[in-house]
């Protein structure tokens, strides 16, 4: 990022610079997210059973499966949002970069969400804020004050989310005035502004029309060079188009996981094969 010679004292910026470099070399690390023996409950009902999954960096991984199999619960466990629901709990290890277990007692669940961003199924821009303020919300409310820095990051995020050209002259308009597809890209830009290492997407296109959906899919292709993307989808064609790796889940268990081509063309498990060919779900 080109900034002129003024001293940059913003602590958040220091983290960002080093993470950008980290991301560049992160291919050298084997796995970005390692899920080990993860269980999750809603009250007494167990919804995830002993999930073991290693997500590679800078690729797009899709999690597919029939309704109720636990896909959304799984990704909500990856940024510790699952336990925020009343009565919900989770147990196990989720290790980032082979060095940080986000379920460790010393990790602050609020801060970890700055490294692992999330985009929800239904676009949820902040209704009282403009487009600009929406994207900047995460930065401003986490203490970033430098106006020029915020401007740069907002522009960069909107460009990464393929929304800049459509809103660059209307940054002051309310965020909820955009169309559905634009709102979802706004939410993606808002998540990207935090410079996350991992982006979790919970059925990001299921509320959108086909054209908006395809824009988001193109986005995922471009984004995965910088961010590790994990997306839940129940549209198998989308998973085939977008994801490098696919995980198939059924009733809380991980059935099969591998490169997308292998899962769709030559699945190892019969259950996978039956789901792929539409025999159930």
């Amino acid at each position: 990022m080109a900034t002129d010679g003024e001293a940059i004292n913003d602590p958040l910026l220091k983290v960002i610079s080093s993470k950008k470099e980290e991301n560049y070399y992160v291919n050298r690390l084997r796995y970005k997210v390692s899920i080990k023996n993860l269980d999750a409950w809603f009250g007494t009902k167990q919804v995830l059973k002993n999930i073991n999954l290693d997500i590679k960096s800078n690729v797009a991984t899709a999690i597919i499966g029939p309704s109720g199999c636990g896909k959304t619960t799984l990704i909500r466990c990856l940024n510790r949002m699952h336990e925020m629901t009343l009565g919900a709990s989770a147990k196990g290890c989720v290790v980032i970069d082979n060095n940080t277990n986000i379920y460790d007692k010393s990790v602050d669940p609020v801060i970890i969400k700055r490294r692992i961003g999330m985009v929800f199924q239904k676009p949820n821009p902040f209704p009282t804020m403009s487009v600009f303020d929406n994207v900047a919300a995460g930065l401003k409310l986490n203490g970033v004050r430098d106006k020029r820095l915020i401007n740069d990051i907002v522009e960069e995020s909107l460009k990464s989310a393929a929304l800049w050209d459509e809103v660059k002259n209307e940054l002051d308009k309310p965020g909820i005035g955009l169309s559905g597809g634009q709102q979802q890209r706004l939410c993606i830009a808002r998540a990207l502004a935090m410079q996350p290492e991992v982006l979790l997407m919970d059925e990001p296109t299921s509320a959108l029309d086909p054209i908006a959906s395809s824009k988001i899919e193109e986005l995922i292709h471009a984004l995965k060079k910088e961010v590790t993307i994990i997306t839940v989808t129940h549209n198998m064609l989308q998973a085939a188009r977008v994801a490098d790796f696919t995980a198939f889940m059924y009733i809380g268990e991980l059935i099969e996981y591998g490169p997308t081509n292998q899962i769709f063309k030559t699945p190892h498990k019969e259950l996978t094969e039956r789901y792929i060919s539409g025999k159930f779900g």
């Binding site: 700055r114 902040f126 808002r190 998540a191």
Partner: protein, 310 residues
């Protein structure tokens, strides 16, 4: 066989159509009757309000004068020119209601935020708070006045502005709490989740995102509460005493419009009555103006949202 079933279907179909069309005219008439009844109810509700307003305007408009607005009260039973005005009462209402709001609104909003955002489910303490709040809403204002008398008036040693403001704030708080809590609950949870997913701490989400979304609802609660306390007379009788003097100290008595209206109406003189009508009109106007001003202030940074679809 298929013909039989389709024959059966079409005869069922015919039966349904017959039944629905037979009752149709009766339903249309019933519909009209209910509509007329509903409109009649609306009128029944509006007419008393309208007639009160008309009466107040009719009797009070003629009493409004510079003298009324700026002079302290004169001798009882004097002629119109030497009767003075109700200026101390106007000042008193503004001060006492203002002070009560300064005390009551922050407490009410914070309690409402607690009940909505930080009190999960049916734990004991939040349930108790809600119960107490509902009880307070229904407490007779005269009882609250007595409480104000026993606590502040006896402690300070005289009737005072403080006692009046204290009592009015007790009336105000439960209203603000309930409306704030209800309005915050209506804010969709997806907004909060969006905030959490950005790693923002809970109190910041509550203050800068959720409360901002609920701003107009909370403001309605505040306006309602202020309108309510501006007209309360019983607590004022027991706490501020009323006087012909302008404000001097928070620990001294003061006059207020509802109190002055009551005293003027109790006198047997026409000039007093006409001043009373003027005071009543003034009270309504003050409440109206403060509501409008509060709303305008809230909308200062608001958006006019037009749905723009690409």
């Amino acid at each position: 066989m298929r013909e039989e079933t389709s024959g059966q279907n079409s005869s069922n179909n015919q039966k349904i159509q017959d039944i629905m069309s037979r009752r149709y005219n009766r339903r249309r008439v019933l519909d009209k009757i209910v509509s007329v009844f509903a409109i009649a109810c609306v009128l029944a509700a509006i007419i008393p309000l309208g007639s009160i307003l008309l009466e107040v305007i009719r009797n009070g408009a003629s009493a409004i004068s510079i003298q009324l607005l700026t002079q302290p009260p004169g001798a009882i039973g004097a002629t119109l020119e030497s009767s003075g005005g109700i200026a101390p009462a106007i000042q008193g209402t503004l001060i006492v209601v203002g002070l009560a709001s300064v005390i009551g609104i922050p407490i009410g909003i914070l309690a409402g935020i607690y009940l909505s955002e930080f009190a999960s489910g049916t734990r004991l303490f939040p349930s108790a708070v809600r119960l107490f709040n509902d009880v307070l809403t229904g407490l007779p204002s005269v009882v609250i006045g007595i409480v104000g008398y026993i606590t502040i008036v006896l402690a300070v040693g005289s009737f005072s502005v403080l006692a009046g403001a204290f009592s009015l704030s007790i009336i105000m708080i439960p209203i603000v709490v309930r409306i704030t809590e209800e309005t915050l609950k209506v804010v969709p949870n997806s907004i909060r989740e969006a905030g959490y997913s950005l790693g923002i701490s809970k109190w910041k989400i509550t203050l800068f995102i959720v409360l901002k979304s609920a701003k107009s609802g909370v403001l309605t609660g505040i306006v309602l509460a202020i309108s309510r306390i501006a007209g309360e007379t019983a607590p004022l009788i027991m706490t501020i005493l009323g006087t012909s003097l302008f404000f001097s100290s928070f620990t001294k008595p003061i006059d207020a419009l509802p109190l002055r209206i009551w005293r003027l109406a109790s006198q047997p003189y026409d000039t007093a009555h006409s001043q009373g009508w003027g005071a009543a009109l003034l009270l309504i106007v003050i409440v109206l103006i403060s509501s409008v001003v509060l709303r305008l202030l809230a909308q200062r940074k608001g958006f006019k949202v037009k749905a723009v679809h690409v």
